[in-house]
């Protein structure tokens, strides 16, 4: 791989990974805030409105970071991936414009009203503004998934003599089966980040013995929604996604699972390090026949290993893909256990005084971020060596006129800038959490960014 291509890949990987740390919380918190507002609207219990306000503050800071790191993403298709952009504009240009037109306008219009317009809008109006922000953020996610799904599983297109892709069916593109499955799976992932964040803050306050009423409200909502999201994350969405991948990207599944040789009654590798040079797994801990069962529903089915495919079509970085997938799947399983335990304790009325569970919830905070990132790395390193699966190789897509020196310059620029953003984000969110969901705060430090308050 030439150096410029590597830098283009690194830059996209870095900027998208950093960016997605924010939208996953935005998309995870938005429905939770709507739930809090709905409970408030139906019961009139001000505790839930205060909870919604507190989380709206966190949401606001998070949203700003998502917006500013999101802008570069759309432009990088052109700056770093010019050859790819040139041939795919007719297809994936569409969901990208639709994201701007249908969701960003909606989100940007109602976010300010939601964050700072409660008095003016009234109770019901404010609920609607929250719903609009929720709808905008989830629509935005859908269009991005449609874009990625087309690269993973191209549908509804024709290719002209110049190699350019064109859409042949508008609905075919939007309702790509890969997109629908991936969307369901991804949104459960975002919800997982949201519920673990909310549960962690609740657990933190209980352990610190502050804001006890608020903390219990956070935990109640987070644990109930969380148990459902974590289960659906694995079954049916993760299961369906895996089966769909096995049908359409079998070489990727083989690499994810570390299955170097085709086997009947293929085992699933739970632990072990892939040795791509010698095509084996070191010190493997395996469960026999399970992979065959997961993919085909019988323990004897034959699963294609990497040796069934030409090496040039193998994912470029097999160990990274293998680890990403195993980290995602392992954490997903842990999340089910944690949330099931927490919801059981909640049902028994013991969650709020079970300190070890509160500690677990607190310490889990970073894990959904890792799981979501690893999930996306599974999808995208699994797509390699293709940009458009089976049709356009990654080596055929980058900007030929942008050399490695310029690529490194801008990559370093992004790293420096994003480092500062990360510090600012952690500082402001920590401050918000330390301050807590108290009713009135000192003037000037009040609720988020009063520029949008005017």
């Amino acid at each position: 791989m030439d150096e410029a291509l590597l830098l283009h890949r690194l830059q996209f990987a870095f900027t998208i990974t950093f960016h997605y740390l924010f939208p996953q919380l935005t998309m995870g918190l938005a429905p939770l805030i709507v739930i809090l507002k709905t409970v408030y609207l139906r019961t009139g219990n001000p505790l839930y409105n205060r909870a919604a306000r507190f989380w709206a503050k966190v949401f606001g800071i998070n949203f700003v970071m998502g917006v500013v790191t999101g802008i570069p993403m759309e432009f990088q298709f052109g700056t770093d991936w010019a050859q790819f952009a040139r041939v795919t504009g007719g297809v994936i240009g569409q969901p990208l414009v639709m994201e701007g037109v249908f969701s960003f306008f909606l989100e940007s219009a109602f976010l300010g009203l939601f964050l700072y317009g409660e008095n003016r809008l009234g109770r019901v109006g404010h609920w609607w503004a929250g719903l609009a922000v929720f709808a905008g953020s989830w629509l935005s996610g859908f269009f991005i998934i449609v874009t990625d799904a087309w690269m993973q599983h191209p549908v509804a297109f024709a290719r002209n003599a110049a190699g350019e892709f064109q859409v042949t069916s508008f609905w075919g593109l939007l309702l790509n089966p890969w997109a629908l499955i991936q969307y369901a799976h991804n949104m459960c992932g975002a919800l997982t980040t949201g519920v673990f964040a909310m549960a962690a803050v609740g657990a933190y306050y209980l352990l610190e013995e502050r804001f006890l009423e608020d903390a219990r409200a956070f935990l109640r909502v987070a644990v109930v929604v969380g148990a459902a999201a974590c289960v659906v994350q694995i079954f049916p969405t993760g299961d369906l996604h895996g089966k769909f991948m096995a049908a359409h990207q079998p070489v990727t599944v083989a690499a994810m699972e570390g299955l170097f040789k085709t086997e009947a009654g293929a085992p699933i590798v739970i632990l072990g390090q892939p040795d791509a040079e010698n095509e084996r797994i070191d010190n493997p801990l395996v469960a026999n026949d399970v992979l065959s069962f997961l993919i085909y529903g019988t323990t004897t089915a034959s699963v294609q290993g990497l040796n069934a495919f030409p090496k040039q079509d193998w994912p470029t970085n097999i160990p990274l893909l293998y680890y990403s997938y195993h980290i995602m799947a392992g954490l997903g399983t842990i999340f089910v256990a944690v949330m099931a335990g927490a919801v059981f304790l909640l049902w028994r009325g013991a969650l709020f005084r079970t300190r070890w569970m509160l500690w677990i919830l607190l310490l889990c905070t970073p894990l959904p971020y890792i799981a979501n990132t690893a999930g996306w790395m599974t999808a995208e390193t699994g797509r390699q060596p293709w940009l458009v699966y089976g049709l356009l190789r990654t080596t055929q897509g980058d900007s030929q006129y942008v050399n490695a020196g310029n690529g490194l310059f801008t990559l370093l620029g992004f790293m420096g800038l994003y480092g500062i953003l990360a510090i600012l984000f952690l500082f402001l969110v920590s401050r918000t959490i330390a301050h807590g969901p108290a009713e009135e705060v000192a003037p000037g430090i009040a609720s988020g960014a009063p520029v949008t308050m005017a």
């Binding site: 040139r86 504009g89 639709m98 219009a109 976010l111 006129y401 310029n406 009063p450």
Partner: protein, 348 residues
């Protein structure tokens, strides 16, 4: 169909320039107009609820360009790689500048984010102007439609240009002055009292500079690109555009002096839109001019997407933009009128 999409992209970019233009103008001017932190907060609150929505026009316009004219998007964005990345960084800095400044009320925090917001706004206006200058001057397109421009070479307009040369610097200066004046008109419209007086004074002082640089840039354009008059000669009705530019400039001065803030703001909006219309009319059907060989120009004919995509696109695009227009009307109505001096914690 191709002309339609050319116009749609042009309209979206013009909407971006007019709408985010006043945000940027206010961003530049707050450094000079505000004497106290409270005044600064009022100025920034004039754009607070709308700047993010205004910036979406850039994303939607850029996306539309990608969708309708992929070759232009691929060639232009990779060719203008360096300045575009800097624009992205500046957009990030502008966004966090305006959104994070109110989180803490300490002199260092405020100073940092105020400066961040003001300086990135100023540099953005210069970059946007220079970008337009590059498109009009032309770039050294290679056979497959790609190019790469360094930030500068010898500052001359020639076969080996850089992003910055004497011509594009004039264009950058023009954009900075025009958007600052536009921002001053907007600030005057949204404020009262002393701030309002200073904003109007700023608009009045910027006006002669804008007239001079507009004339200078027009002359410079005709000097380096006399062929840009071809469309005008073929279709003389287009000469109405420069006439209207002159009219809107005059209106901005006259109406501003008479205290008709809304009308003056509409004049500076019209000025920006008309300048872009004039440029669009001059280059059509070209999208990106070659600095060396006109046969290498990127045009609507060689850069467009498939007919089916474009035809279907027109349907959902119209539907989506109608919705977006509805949100804009709603938000601007919620936010109409002048900003009161009082700083309160909750609500608009």
């Amino acid at each position: 169909m191709l002309l339609t999409w050319f116009l749609l992209v042009a309209i979206m970019l013009a909407a971006y320039v007019v709408l985010d233009g006043f945000d940027l103008g206010v961003g530049v001017l707050h450094l000079f107009l505000a004497r106290t932190e409270e005044e600064r907060t009022i100025l920034i609150r004039t754009i607070g609820p709308v700047w993010d929505g205004n910036e979406v026009w850039l994303l939607a316009g850029g996306g539309t360009l990608y969708f309708a004219f992929p070759l232009l998007y691929a060639s232009g964005f990779s060719g203008f790689y360096l300045p575009l990345m800097m624009v992205l960084w500046l957009l990030i800095l502008r966004g966090i500048g305006i959104e994070l400044r109110m989180h803490l009320d300490t002199p260092v925090w405020r100073g940092l984010f105020n400066g961040c917001f003001g300086i990135s706004s100023l540099l953005l206006t210069v970059f946007y102007g220079a970008a337009l200058g590059n498109v009009i001057r032309g770039v050294p397109l290679q056979r497959h439609g790609y190019f790469f421009l360094p930030l500068w070479t010898d500052w001359k307009v020639g076969p080996n240009p850089g992003i910055l040369d004497w011509y594009t610097v004039i264009a950058g200066l023009l954009a900075a002055i025009a958007l600052a004046l536009h921002g001053a008109n907007y600030a005057a419209l949204k404020t009262t009292g002393e701030l309002n007086r200073r904003a109007r004074l700023a608009a009045a002082r910027l006006w002669p500079a804008l007239v001079a640089v507009t004339a200078l840039s027009l002359a410079a354009t005709l000097f380096i690109r006399p062929d840009l008059l071809d469309n005008y000669q073929r279709l003389p009705v287009l000469y109405a555009i420069p006439a209207l530019v002159a009219g809107s400039l005059f209106g901005a001065w006259r109406l501003g002096r008479n205290g008709r803030e809304r009308a003056a703001f509409l004049c500076s909006s019209a000025y920006l839109a008309l300048m872009l219309a004039g440029a669009a009319a001059a280059v059509y059907p070209n999208l990106l001019l070659s600095a060396t060989d006109p046969s290498l120009n990127i045009t609507v004919f060689n850069a467009h997407s498939g007919e089916h995509s474009l035809a279907v696109g027109l349907i959902w695009w119209s539907f989506g933009m109608a919705l977006a227009a509805g949100y804009f009307v709603f938000v601007y109505r919620m936010f109409r009128g002048k900003i009161a001096g009082k700083l309160d914690g909750h609500g608009y």
